[in-house]
């Protein structure tokens, strides 16, 4: 059946917007209400010259990343003429979350071993804070190869920082690729595939930091798998086979923090946890493993959370499929400039959209 879905949103300045849509997209239309002079969604209308106010995309005929656009000409009084054109960059991209491919390889020139790690690339990396990157082919530090990490800071076009404690490793050349986009759902439908532990405190309560921004929640029960080289074997499953389990009592998912607190675990007298560094290769990595769910009725990204009714059955925690198909609206300067353009600009605007699934498409 022909299906039309509509919606509206307010963008974050200079930030691409992902709209999850389960339907097949045959046509997508988008209007910038604010720049058209319309007051909506709490944003005052402001008819503005040289801004994209309408964008259209048909994935059957058009390339991802582009859009057919209408852009305001010079405003005269309460009217602006419309100019037709194409946005060649930062237009629309139809996303199938499960088939995202790693980004292009960027050569790593070096990294600075430390409690957090600053990486330097040979060419501009293009990463954003919140992206997940994976480092490989680290010839002098192979023990770190294959790790996925969230970018916690971007120092320059050729430097970025992650929470990896590389103090025991040697700097190295290598390769880095973006494997997770901060503006998109992750490829893995339930949890990031490689949820390696970055650090564990010897404290009461115990605090665990992860290399990637995670989505555990208060009440979740986890267990640990820590290779012997990393220490803190007290968290591992003992010979009895009964796992050491811990309940998450607090979470900070903010990029750059990425911590889980376990109020019921006192790790003060445990052996220290640390990345072993040079010479420990090949080996497994230390992981947090989702083990069970507290009865808090938590569903990620579902409001309100926890749900207001107690004890209903939900499929949360490791059973909540976080993946989504949809469409990504690119960001730039809000014009169709071939070098700096993008549909979403540096202003905070209200938008209205319409997605169409056609019963029949000709030809």
């Amino acid at each position: 059946m022909t299906q039309i879905t509509t919606g509206a949103f307010v963008n974050v300045a200079s930030t691409p917007k992902f709209i999850p849509l389960s339907q097949k997209i045959d046509l997508f239309r988008l209007w910038n209400l604010t720049m058209s002079g319309v007051t909506a969604l709490g944003v005052s209308g402001s008819l503005t010259s040289t801004r994209i106010v309408e964008a259209i995309f048909n994935p059957n005929y058009m390339s991802n990343g582009t859009a057919m656009i209408r852009q305001n000409g010079t405003v005269v009084g309460i009217l602006a003429p419309l100019n037709n054109g194409v946005a060649a960059i930062n237009g629309f991209t139809v996303i199938n979350a499960s088939t995202q491919l790693p980004g292009p390889s960027v050569v790593v020139n070096s990294f600075v071993p430390g409690t957090t790690t600053v990486w330097t690339t040979n060419t501009p990396h293009g990463f954003l804070v919140g992206d997940i990157v994976r480092v490989t082919s680290l010839t002098s530090a192979p023990e770190l190869g294959g790790l996925s990490m969230t970018v916690t800071a971007v120092g320059s076009t050729t430097t970025f920082t992650t929470l990896l404690n590389s103090s025991n490793s040697l700097t190295s050349v290598g390769v880095v690729q973006k494997v997770g986009n901060v503006n998109l759902p992750m490829r893995a439908l339930y949890y990031p595939e490689v949820r390696v532990i970055a650090a564990i405190t010897k404290a009461n309560p115990m605090v665990v930091t992860t290399l990637v921004q995670q989505n555990y929640q208060v009440g979740d029960v986890v267990r640990f798998a820590i290779p012997t080289q990393f220490g803190m074997q007290q968290l591992n499953t003992p010979n009895s086979g009964l796992p050491f389990q811990a309940t998450v009592s607090a979470v900070n998912n903010a990029v750059g923090t990425q911590t889980l607190t376990f109020a019921n675990v006192d790790s003060t007298n445990f052996t220290a946890f640390a990345f072993p560094g040079t010479g420990f290769f090949p080996t497994s990595f230390p992981y947090l493993i989702p083990q069970g769910e507290g009865n808090l009725n938590n569903l990620n990204n579902i409001v309100p959370s926890p749900l207001p009714y107690g004890n209903q059955d939900i499929l949360g925690f490791a059973r909540q499929n976080q993946g989504a198909n949809g469409i990504l609206i690119g960001a730039g300067d809000g014009t169709n400039s071939a070098t700096t353009g993008g549909i979403i600009g540096s202003t905070v605007d209200a938008w209205m959209w319409e997605a169409v699934t056609s019963l029949q498409t000709f030809p």
């Binding site: 059946m1 499960s98 491919l101 790693p102 390889s105 994976r134 490989t136 082919s137 680290l138 192979p142 023990e143 770190l144 190869g145 294959g146 996925s148 390769v175 690729q177 494997v179 893995a188 439908l189 339930y190 949890y191 990031p192 595939e193 490689v194 267990r223 798998a225 499953t237 010979n239 086979g241 796992p243 290769f281 090949p282 080996t283 497994s284 990595f285 992981y287 493993i289 989702p290 083990q291 499929l315 490791a318 059973r319 499929n321 993946g323 019963l359």
Partner: protein, 222 residues
């Protein structure tokens, strides 16, 4: 436009059935990717991390499962008086990608299904066995692209024990094939019919101690 209903519908049923089951497989696979505890193969010789798979890595994974009291899936196949065959141990299934078939063939001690002492009740996707694992290969098996230390594809081999995962479905929604004849799909001129499937189900690891994701890379290049 005239539509010849029956052949079109027969073809659609076949295609939709394949689509449904492959979708279920992929959802189960994705659930295991997100939740099964990963361990790397480390005994191979290809210089990567994880390494290529070896019998010792299989033994270590089975040891982990057995220490956690995971139960085997398949019973012992007893030896019989057939040349070139051998008995098969009690086993976990190893669910992985068809690209691993050559590496499995290269493993010392690997026993192809043709060498089982009794080949009754084999699954079509079964490739063979080593130690206490019987491998089922699928083209939709799990691969983590370019994820090894050397930037090669990592193959995830899921080893579920009994009751380690299940499927939760809403009443009446496990899988439905829905056919709408022209009288319903296009009542005005009755030109079109539609067929499709839907389901509302979720795969769920019930005990992460009873399932392992054994990660490896290839020694035999594609």
């Amino acid at each position: 436009m005239l539509i010849n209903e029956d052949p079109v519908l027969n073809s659609a049923v076949s295609t939709l059935g394949q689509s449904l089951r492959e979708t279920e497989d992929q959802l189960a696979r994705s659930m295991m990717e997100g939740g099964a505890p990963p361990i790397n193969c480390t005994s191979g010789t290809n210089g990567d991390n994880p390494t290529n798979i070896t019998p010792l890595d299989c033994s270590k994974a089975v040891r982990l499962l057995r220490t956690a009291n995971a139960q085997f899936i398949m019973d012992l196949i007893e030896g019989e008086l057939r040349f070139g065959t051998a008995p098969v141990r009690t086993c976990f299934f190893g669910l992985t990608h068809t690209n691993l078939s050559a590496d499995l063939d290269q493993m010392v001690g690997f026993q192809n299904v043709s060498q089982y002492s009794n080949t009754a009740n084999l699954l079509q996707s079964e490739w063979g066995t080593v130690r206490n694992i019987r491998f089922l290969l699928s083209s939709v098996g799990s691969i983590s692209a370019l994820a090894s230390a050397l930037g090669q594809d990592v193959y995830n081999i899921f080893l579920p024990g009994q009751e380690s995962y299940d499927m939760v479905d809403l009443d009446g929604y496990s899988a439905q094939f829905i056919y709408a004849p022209p009288e319903i799909a296009s009542p005005r001129l009755r030109l079109y019919q539609t067929a499709g499937w839907k389901m509302a189900q979720v795969f769920n690891i019930t005990n992460t101690s009873w399932i392992v994701n054994l990660r490896c890379t290839l020694a035999v290049a594609l």
